[in-house]
Amino acid sequence: MTTPVIEMKAITKTFPGVRALSDVSFDVRTGEVQALVGENGAGKSTLIKILSGVYQADSGAVLMNGKAVHFRHPVDSLRAGISTIYQEFSLLPERTVAQNLFLGREPRTRLGLIDAAKMRDETKEVLALFAAAGRIDPDRIVGELDVATQQVVEIAKAVSTGARVVVMDEPTAALNEAECEELFATVDTLRERGVAIIYITHRMREIARLADRVTVLKDGEVAARFDEVPAPNEIVRAMVGRDIADFYAPPASPDEVGGLVLSVRGGGNAVLDGIDLDVRRGEIVGLAGIQGAGRVALARALFGDAPFERGDVTLDGDAVSFGTPRAAILGGIGLLPGDRKSEGLVLMQSVRDNGMLTSRAFASLWSSDRRNAHSDTVRMDGLLDHMEIRAASYDQDIRALSGGNQQKAIVARWLSMRPKLLIFIEPTRGIDVNSKAGIYHLMRDLAREGAGILMISSDLPEVIGAADRVLVMQAGRIVAEFPHGASEQDVMHAATAESEVAA
C-alpha cells in the first residue's frame, strides 16, 4: 500500500461557539479518488479549507508525503501542489483559455514578451489529456464557454500547475447528465496520472461510479470510513444516522389530479418553439433535458421574465400574457429560481423578511410591514415553524442558514401568495439529503392542496422520482413525455438522442 500523499491527523477546529471539527483524521493516496461525504454543516468544507490553508486547525497535523506542513495561506498549499476546485470558478471570464491556464506564469520570449504561440501549444497539450479537449480552442474567451467546459479548463489549470492533489467540491452541482459523464472521464484521467483526488459530493451515484474509498463526516466527526465503496444505503445511514425510508413522496393518485391549471399552445420566442404544455391541479410535472435545452427558458417565459412572443397561454381558464414577473405573480404564478444566492435570496435581510418579500411587494409602499393582504408576521412565523426551518430566530440574517433552510424560506414566500402554478427550478441543488426529502414532500403537499407544479431539475433520478409526469426538452422544444417511474436511460436517450445527430 502506498503512503498517503496527504494525511490529516486528529484535526480539531473551533469557531466561536461551535466545534466544527473534532479529532478528524483523513488521508488520500496517489491515484485514488477519496469521496468525502456528509450533510451540509458536517464539516467537509472546514476540513478542505484547513487543507488548502484558508483556515488553520486548532490542533492536529497535516502531513504531505510524510512530512508535516503548515499552510498559512491558500497560496502555500497551491505551491505545495494542492489544487482546490470550488463550485464558483476562479477563472477570469474575459480572458482566453490559454491566458487563464498560464495566469501569472506566462512563458516569455527572449525579449521578455509573452510567448503566445508557446502558451497556445502547451495549453493544447494539457487539454489533450481530457476527453473534452477536442471542443476547446485555447483562444476562446472563457466567459463564452458553458459551465461544464469551464470546469474542464479549471481542472486543466490545476494539472498544468503540477497539482499532486486535486480537491473537487461538488463538481457536478451545475452540470447535466451528459456533462457529468464527461467530468467522470476527466476524473478517471487524473487518477490514471497518479493525482490524488478528494471528491466532495451529495450524490450516491457519483460515489459508486468514481470513488475508491469513502469517508463520511457527521457533526464534525468521522462517522464512517469505507475502504471499498459500500451500498448507497450504508453511506446514507452513516450520513444521517438513520435510514431514509420514503425519500420521494408518493406520486399523485388519479383522483388527486384535477382540472387544467396551465395550458400553453404553440408557445415560442427566440429560444423556444412549438411549446404545447398542460399542467393540472394536484400534479407535479418534471422537465428534463440537457443544459441549454430550454427548460429554464420555458420557466422564464411562463413567469414573464423572457415572455413568449407567439402562442397562447391559458391560466386557470383565462387567456393570459405576462410581460413581467410582477404581472405573472399577480396572475397566480410563483417561481423558485435555480440559483438561490444570486436570484432567490436577499442575503443581508432576515429570514422573515425573505419570507414576506413577495407579499410586501404587492401591498402599499406606505403601509406597515407587519401585515398585508397576503400575510402578516405572525402567520409567516407560523409558516416558517410549520416547515421546520432551523434558525436561532427569524430575525437573523438568512445568509447564516443552510441551503435547505434558505430554500424553505423562499418556498414560504410563495406559499403566502397561494399561487395556482408554482415553478421549481433546481429545488434541491446544493442542499443535504434530509432537506431534499423535505422539499419533495413539501412539493407534494402543495400539489395536494390544489396547486399545479412544474419542476426543473438536472438531477435525473430526482425528476423521475418526484414528478408524476416527465417532459423532456431539447433545443427549445418538448420532444418526449414519460410517466412516473420511467427509466433514467429512456429519459436520457430522449434528451440527447437527436442532438448527437445534429452535432
Binding site: 454543516g41 458536517a42 399577480l330 436570484e343 435581510q349 423578511d353 418579500l357 406606505w366
Partner: protein, 327 residues
C-alpha cells in the same frame, strides 16, 4: 448539528450589538465638553443640533438611496438651487414664503424623480446620473441668479432656520430647525424600518435580481428612494437658507458629507443595509468632529482632509465587518 452551529453563531453575533457610531459620538461630545464646558447648557447643545440639522436631514434622505444600492450626489447643488431659487422667487415679499416653500419641496421631489428615471430607464449608474444632475443644478442656480443672487430671504422664510420656541420646560428653548430635524428623521426612520417601502429599499439594494423575481416593483421603489433624498435636500436647503445668507455655494460639499454620515452610521455602500437613526448619529458625529477642529483652530483645508480620511476609514471598516460576517 448544522442548526446548532447557526444558533450559537447568531447568538454570539446578536448579543451586545451597539452601533459604533454612538460610541464615536459619545467620545467626540466628551471631547467638546472638555474644551468647552458650556456645551452642557441648552445654548451649547441646542446650537450644536441646530447646526447639525441640515446635514442630519440630508443624511437621513441619502441613506435611502445608499441602501437601495445607489448614490445621490445631486443633493448639494439641489440645496443651492433651493436657496437661490427661494431668494429669487420671494423677492423680499414675506407673503411669498407660503407658496415658495411648497414649491421648493415639490422641486426636491421632482429632481428625485428625474434622477430615478435616468437611473432606472436610461440605465445610467446612479453615481454618474446624479453627478450630471449636480453639475446641471449648479449651472441652473447660476443662470437663475445671474451669478449675483439677492442676499436676502424674508423673515417668514427664515423662520424655520432661525427661530426658537421659547419657554420650553427642562431645556428652556428649542430651535425650530431642531424640531424640523426630529420630525423629519422620525418620519424617515419610520418609513425605512416599519413599512413595506423600507423593506423593499433594503431588498433592491441587497439583490435587485432576486427582488424583481420576487415581484418587487424595483423601479418604483428606486425612484421613491431618490424622491425622498431630493425632498430631504429641499428641507435642508430651507433650513440653511434660514441660518446662512444666500450664495451660490451654500450647498457645495454637502453631498459627500451626507454620504460620509450615512456610512459612518454603518450603511452598506452598494446597498442592502442602512439605518436612518444611525445616519443621523453619523451626521452628529461628523458635525462634532468639525466643531472640535474649529476649537482647535484648524483651518478649512484641514477639515477637508479629515473628512476625506473619515470617509475612507468608515468604508474600510464597513468592508472589514462585512468580510467578518462572511458575505
Amino acid at each position: 448539528m448544522s442548526d446548532r452551529t447557526e444558533t450559537t453563531h447568531a447568538r454570539t453575533r446578536r448579543l451586545p450589538q451597539i452601533n459604533p457610531v454612538w460610541l464615536l459620538l459619545a467620545a467626540l461630545v466628551a471631547g467638546i465638553i472638555l474644551m468647552n464646558p458650556g456645551f452642557v447648557e441648552p445654548t451649547g447643545y441646542m446650537n450644536f443640533l441646530k447646526r447639525a440639522a441640515p446635514l442630519a436631514i440630508l443624511a437621513a434622505g441619502q441613506v435611502y438611496v445608499i441602501t437601495s444600492g445607489g448614490f445621490d450626489l445631486s443633493v448639494g447643488s439641489l440645496i443651492t438651487l433651493v436657496v437661490v431659487g427661494s431668494s429669487m422667487l420671494t423677492n423680499n415679499d414675506p407673503a411669498a414664503t407660503y407658496w415658495v416653500i411648497p414649491l421648493m419641496l415639490g422641486m426636491g421631489l421632482g429632481v428625485g424623480v428625474v434622477n430615478g428615471l435616468v437611473v432606472c430607464f436610461l440605465r445610467v449608474p446612479s453615481l454618474i446620473a446624479t453627478l450630471g444632475m449636480m453639475i446641471t443644478l449648479n449651472g441652473l442656480a447660476f443662470l437663475w441668479s445671474g451669478g449675483a443672487p439677492r442676499g436676502y430671504l424674508p423673515d417668514t422664510y427664515r423662520f424655520f432656520g432661525r427661530e426658537l420656541v421659547r419657554d420650553v420646560p427642562l431645556v428652556g428653548f428649542i430651535p425650530v430647525s431642531v424640531i424640523v430635524l426630529f420630525v423629519v428623521v422620525g418620519i424617515l426612520a419610520w418609513l425605512m424600518h416599519r413599512t413595506n417601502l423600507g423593506r423593499q429599499v433594503h431588498a433592491i439594494g441587497d439583490n435587485p435580481v432576486a427582488a424583481r423575481l420576487a415581484g418587487v416593483a424595483v423601479n418604483r421603489v428606486r425612484i421613491t428612494a431618490f424622491m425622498l433624498s431630493g425632498l430631504s435636500a429641499a428641507i435642508a436647503g430651507i433650513l440653511l437658507g434660514g441660518f446662512a445668507g444666500v450664495s451660490t455655494d451654500v450647498g457645495s460639499g454637502y453631498e459627500l458629507q451626507a454620504i460620509t454620515a450615512a456610512v459612518l452610521g454603518g450603511a452598506q455602500l452598494l446597498g442592502g443595509r442602512g439605518s436612518v437613526f444611525a445616519a443621523f448619529g453619523g451626521a452628529l458625529a461628523l458635525t462634532a468632529i468639525f466643531t472640535l477642529l474649529n476649537f482647535l483652530g484648524l483651518p478649512q483645508p484641514v477639515r477637508q482632509v479629515v473628512q476625506g480620511l473619515i470617509l475612507i476609514a468608515a468604508v474600510a471598516l464597513a468592508m472589514h465587518r462585512r468580510k467578518q460576517t462572511g458575505t
